[in-house]
Amino acid sequence: MTAFEVAREAYREALPALSASLVGGLLAGVVLGGMREELQAVSGLLVLVPALLATRGNVYSSLGARIATALHQGLIEPRVRGGDPRLRSAIAGSIANGLLASAFAATAAYIVLWSLSASPAPLATLVGIAVLAGLFSGVTLSAVVVLAVFAGYRRGYNPDTLVGPLVTTTGDVFGIAFLLLAVRIVLALGGG
């Protein structure tokens, strides 16, 4: 193949996935744009946004890749009911690691902002928001990844190509939406 043919094929193959991620990114952006009051109320929250979104992508695309590989190898059956104990421990492990990374991000951001005397919101507020948002989006994204990979596999799609765009798109939208929900809950409970 000439370079031109390679380029045309690569362009055609990637455009649908990028378009899906465009829609997801803009939806997430609209929610973030509507969060200006909360961003001003909780100093340091904006600093957390990239780390929290990336955690969703990293943890749940790893879960999706793991499930996809296991399906290819026949290690697990594409059924949710009568759940495989290995599947359950993989999901529990992913959610726990997502929570750990979220709490770590909030603590590290607080320490850096505090040492720069940038007066961040209290540590408990930032960690509370990060963990709560991590829990909500973790449960939702696990369900989305497992159900979509199983459904795709049973219909004959390669789960490997499904996982990437699915996780980045739903991860951004749910990540920001649940961040907003978590901020509202923590602020209502008197943090901030």
Binding site: F4, A10, L18, L32, R36, L46, P50, T55, G57
Partner: protein, 185 residues
């Protein structure tokens, strides 16, 4: 050989990588925090943030996945005249120039529906398109270097290159957006 499917094995495999990646992403968070006032004044730019980060990571990960596969199939050589390399690099720039103007126009339109955009449509489209053009070139460079490094250190590019490229491109997304906003707005 896949990692064992126990809670402890999964945690042990993922926590070190996750810690490093979280620190890298926090770096881009601090850049974002440093121009928070500008972002809050012009909501259209705030709307651009997740889309720009996501698209930069996706451009990198699509290219990384394609180069990894070509590498496994033995159809890739690391030379600027290699057709697979050049074709994929061109496609990445072309994809960015297709998608980012739409991101800019979409961000402006969605902001105009809900609040004061603060900036005109041409400015937002220019910010998005210029960011996309710079990012696509950077994404190609990062992906080629990471794939080449994986090849030299005999690592499986599927395991290493995609997470590294996605996260590095996320950070570059924020840095480039910051730079372009400083110049244009």
């Amino acid at each position: 050989m896949p990692t064992e499917w126990s809670f402890r094995a999964i945690t042990r495999a993922i926590v070190p990588v996750l810690t490093v990646l979280t620190l890298v992403e926090l770096g881009s968070g601090f850049v974002l925090g440093s121009f928070e006032t500008t972002l809050l004044r012009y909501p259209a730019l705030l709307v651009l943030v997740p889309a720009t980060i996501g698209m930069a990571g996706n451009l990198g990960s699509v290219l990384a996945a394609r180069l990894s596969t070509a590498f496994h199939l033995g159809t890739l050589s690391f030379s600027p005249t290699d057709d697979t390399l050049a074709g994929n690099a061109f496609a990445t720039v072309g994809l960015a120039l297709t998608v980012f103007p739409v991101v800019g126009a979409g961000a402006w339109a969605l902001t105009a529906l809900t609040a004061e955009a603060g900036l005109g449509l041409p400015t937002v489209v220019l910010v998005a398109t210029a960011s996309g053009a710079v990012l696509s070139v950077l994404a190609v460079a990062v992906t080629v270097v990471a794939t080449y490094a994986a090849y030299r250190f005999e690592l499986d590019p599927d395991d290493v290159v995609i997470p590294v490229v996605t996260n590095v491109c996320d950070v570059l997304g924020v840095l480039v957006l910051f730079g372009i906003v400083q110049i244009v707005v």
